[in-house]
Structure formats: C-alpha cells, structure tokens
C-alpha cells in the first residue's frame, strides 16, 4: 500500500491549506485521507469548540451588548464570586492532597507493601467502581452515613455518646463535602499509582543498597523522583475532578455551599447574577483553570512515561 504523504494529510482537517504551489515538480497527488476524520472533528467543533468560544466571546459582552472587560474584573472584585472560586479551589485542593496521600499509601500497601495478592485485586476492582461512583447516589449514601439519622451518627451517639451534630455542626459544609469527594478521589490515585509502583524495578533498589543507601535514600533519591510525575499528574487530575464536579455537591448540599459549579448551574436555571455576561465570565474562569490543570497533567504524563512502563 502506498504511503501517502502530503502536507495536506499532515495538517488538521480544518486548517487552511494555503501553501503556495512550490516550484518543485512533480505535483503530489491530491489526497482525501483526511476526509475520514471529518465527522469527528465536525462534531467536536460544533459541540465543544463553538460553545467554549461563545462563552469566551460573551464574557466580554456588557448588558447592552457592547464590549467590556467589566465581567472579567468582576470575577476578582465581586466578593460572592471570589468566595465561590475560593471555596471551589479549597475543596479541590484539600481533596486532591488528601486523596493523593491516602491513595498513595493504599496503592503502596496493596502493591509492594507485602499484602496477599487477593487483597490487591480486590482493592483495584473496588477502586475502579468507587472512582466511577459519583453524583446523586454518592451524596445520598453519605447522607445515610453521617447525616442526622445516619448510621455512623447514630453509632457514635449510641456507643460512644458523641453527638457529632451537637453545637450546630452539620455535615453540609466544607469538610462534609470534602469527605464525600474523597470517596471518588483516592480510588483514582490507587488506580494510577498501583501500576506505577509495580513499575519500580527491583534492580534499582538493589543498586541503591549496593551503593550503601538506606531505605530513606532509596525513596528520597530513586523511587520518589521516578514516581513524582505520575504522583503530581494524578494529584492535579484529582484537583480538576473535584473542581468540575456539580451533581455530587448539588445533591449533597443543595445550594448551601456556593461552589463555582453550583453558581453556574443556578445561573443556567435563572439569571441569578442578573448579568449574562458575568455568568459567561464565570464559566470562562473554569475553562481557564481546567486548561491549566490539563496542561500540567499532560506534561506530567510525558515525564512519567520516561520511567514507568
């Protein structure tokens, strides 16, 4: 089969093919290979790029449809919006760090921690399920766990005599939500770190020991630097995971907690900000943050691929 190579085949389907005809004969045959990916990119263009682009454009639109920077400025200046971003970032950061540490320890325990093999496959299977168990059912599961009539609440009260809801404490707060998010956060870390930890070769440890290194030296100078990209990449993925979550928070707290996603959801249902442009700017803010998150993630994946196979 002829391998068709032309500049046209190399560019994306929607890119301009504005190459000036080169002086070099012979002319390459026109290729239609790129037609095969047109449906996919058309779909992506219509339903991913255009909506994003429209959010971008309308972020700079004032109430009377003129150009303005005010919406972007409002993101930083209006206290309720700033608070929404701060809360979202806090929940995301807390559950990303907590989920990463706990997930890593679990992954360590079931891979090279000396536990039986059955324990490992059990943990990986369950992590696969739990990382996909999010949204409304998860919220209700935690209401049944630590809500006013939840099992843990009642057990603590009956057995230990501790009323966790005494003193006006409710679970529908920052920490309550963080505990719920952790349920789908740490399993993701387990899923990524388990193969990475498996990828640590015995020879590396032996080499370190032969050179007189201790366990501390091995982890500090060999294992952790190798694992760092996957660890960082997954932590940042967890961050994005929590940052974009809507259903879980909505079902769990209603609108008690003003996360960015909750505010945007409310803005969709009725212009609660009384300014469509500002709603767009909030959405744009999320896209910007998520773009940074994904850039770091992709970069770290490339680094991770160097060592972990």
């Amino acid at each position: 089969m002829a391998v068709e190579r032309s500049p046209r085949a190399e560019t994306g389907p929607r890119q301009e093919m504005g190459d000036a005809p080169s002086a070099r004969p012979p002319r390459r045959p026109v290729t239609w290979t790129w037609l095969g990916v047109v449906p996919f990119f058309t779909f992506a263009f219509l339903f991913l790029f255009l909506p994003s682009a429209s959010i971008f454009v309308r972020s700079f639109e004032s109430l009377d449809h003129t150009f303005t920077f005010q919406n972007i400025l409002d993101l930083f200046q209006k206290s309720d919006i700033r608070n929404a971003y701060r809360l979202s970032l806090q929940v995301s950061a807390t559950t990303a760090v907590g989920g990463s540490i706990f997930g890593f320890l679990l992954a360590y325990a079931v891979t090279i921690g000396g536990l039986p093999k059955t324990v490992r496959s059990f943990m990986l299977t369950f992590s696969g399920v739990a990382s996909n168990f999010a949204g409304v059912p998860l919220a209700f599961a935690f209401v049944a766990t630590m809500g006013n009539a939840g099992l843990v609440t009642r057990l603590l009260e009956d057995v230990a005599g501790i009323d966790i809801h005494a003193g006006g404490f409710t679970i529908y707060t920052f920490w309550g939500l963080s505990i719920v998010y952790m349920y789908f956060q740490f399993p993701l870390m387990v899923l990524v770190m388990a193969p990475a930890l498996d990828g640590l070769r015995r020879e590396w440890r032996e080499a370190c020991e032969n050179l007189g290194g201790s366990t501390w030296h091995y982890w500090r100078y060999v294992a952790l630097p190798i694992l760092a990209p996957s660890l960082l990449g997954t932590a940042i993925l967890l961050f994005g995971n929590a940052f974009g979550a809507y259903a879980t928070a909505y079902a769990f707290t209603g609108s008690f907690l003003n996360l960015v996603t909750i505010v945007i959801g409310a803005q969709i249902q009725g212009d609660v900000l009384y300014n469509p442009g500002l709603g767009n700017a909030m959405a744009l803010g999320m896209i910007v943050i998520m773009s940074m998150v994904m850039s770091i993630y992709v970069w770290s994946q490339r680094r991770a691929a160097r060592w972990v196979r």
């Binding site: 991913l48 909506p51 696969g128 399920v129 049944a144 809507y246 896209i287």
Partner: protein, 261 residues
C-alpha cells in the same frame, strides 16, 4: 525474614472501611422505612412509582442513543487515525481531553446559550442532552477503542484482508470488529454506567432521566432515595465488573477511570 506488614494492613483496612461504611449505611438506611424493624418497604415504594420506570427507561434510551453515536464517531476515527492518518493523532487526543477542560456544567451553559436560539435550536429537543452525553463519553470511548487498536496489528490485518480480496465492509465486519470486541464492550459499558447515573446535563436541560429522578425523590421522601441510590450503585458496579471481567488477562489492562460529576 519479612515482618508482618502492619502499616499496609492498617491503610488497607482504613480504605476498606471508607469504601464500605457508606454502602452499608445506605443499605441499612434503606431498610428502616418502617419504625423499629428492617423491611424492604422502601424498595416496594420505589418499585411502585411509575416515574421510577419512566425515568429509568428514558435513561436507558439516552444511553443507547449515546453509545450508538459515540461508537459511530469514535471507531472509524480511531481506526482511520491508526491506519492512515497518524499525524492527526495529537489533534484527536486533544479533542478527547477537551471534555475534562470544559466541565459538564460549563458545557451545558455553553450549549444552552449557543443552541437555545436560531439558526440551530437543539435545547427544545433531547438532541442537546445527547450531544452532551456523547461529549462526556468521548474520552472513555476513544481510550478504550484506541487501546484495543494498538493491542492488535491493525495494519497487517487490514493488508492481509485486502490482499485476500476483502472489501472495506468485510474488513471492518469480519476482521477489525472481532478483534476490537473487548475494547468496544469496555467503552460501551463505561458509557452506559456514566449515562445511567448522569445528573448534570439532564437536570439543567430539563430532560427526564434516572439521575434527576433520584435527586427529586430525595427532596420529597426519606429512605426510598437511598434504596434507589443503591440500585444505581449496583448498575455502576455491574458495569465496571463486567469491563474488568472482559478485559481479564489483557496486557496492560486498564481500569476505567471516570471524570468529574
């Protein structure tokens, strides 16, 4: 001699408790509808509600349509990229990362603003919902299919089939598809699990679906929502177990990873 791995067991047990306490609590809660004893009353009530079947049926329908469109978009594209157009791979991968960059709630926002008015109105039909679900499924579907395509030598298979005189239809149906079966089923079941529990798109676009239904009865009743939540969990659990069972023994087996919801 190795010491008994105390800390490994410690973390493992904490992990197991974190996994199971909410599930056990949900089960226990769902059984407490009648005072003083454990009954299946909540389940009986749940199964009596015609809207339970209705919303479940709708979600099944949305899932079927989403899976069909997603397969039609992803499989030919991934195959084509692998076989003829490797240069397009980074662009395709970029697109499949986009759903993470644009969270569901933001995409809904954009879709409503863009397709809620002429020239192209989608929000008055279920089309907007399906579009959202297909976008949501793209990363999982693509990754499954791509992993499947990489695992077999698709080029050699295609060329062998061609040299034996097979047309494209025969190649796809009799050569490529059987080799991709596990990958396709993984993508299908993961998409199924995601769509069946999805809340954001359906709720904000005001379409009937299982996710919003659970949320709705949660606002009205106690106990039944937990019973239905448990069923929803079983759907997820069943789908993931099926995927892992299908992919058993495969090299570099991937555990499907869900996104933010």
């Amino acid at each position: 001699m190795r010491r008994f791995p105390v800390w490994s067991w410690f973390w493992f047990i904490i992990g197991v408790l974190y996994f199971f306490i909410p599930l056990v609590s949900t089960l226990e809660f769902s059984l407490r509808m009648l005072k003083g004893r454990y009954t299946l009353e909540a389940y009986r009530v749940a199964f009596q509600d015609p809207r339970f079947y209705q919303s479940f049926g709708y979600s099944l329908l949305w899932a079927a349509i989403t899976i069909t469109i997603s397969l039609l978009l992803v499989v030919p594209t991934a195959y084509w990229v692998q076989l003829k157009l490797p240069k397009a791979r980074p662009y395709v991968e970029f697109v499949t990362l986009m759903p993470f960059v644009v969270p569901a709630v933001v995409l809904t926002f954009g879709l409503i603003r863009l397709y809620g008015r002429p020239p192209l109105v989608l929000t008055t039909t279920p089309a907007a919902l399906i579009v959202g679900y297909v976008v949501l499924s793209l990363p999982y579907m693509y990754r499954s299919v791509d992993a499947g395509l990489r695992a077999v030598d698709i080029r050699t298979l295609t060329e062998a089939a061609q040299s034996l005189g097979a047309g494209w239809g025969t190649i796809l149906r009799d050569v490529i598809f059987p080799n991709l079966r596990v990958a396709l089923l993984s993508g299908i079941f993961l998409t199924f699990a995601i769509v069946m529990g999805e809340f954001t798109f359906a709720s904000l676009l005001s379409r009937p679906a299982f996710g919003p239904y659970i949320e709705e009865i949660g606002a009205m009743r106690a106990y039944t929502p937990q019973a239905v939540s448990l069923m929803s969990f079983l759907i997820t659990w069943g789908s993931i177990m099926l995927i892992q069972w299908l992919g058993r023994g495969a090299r570099g087996q991937q555990v499907p990873v869900g996104g933010a919801r």
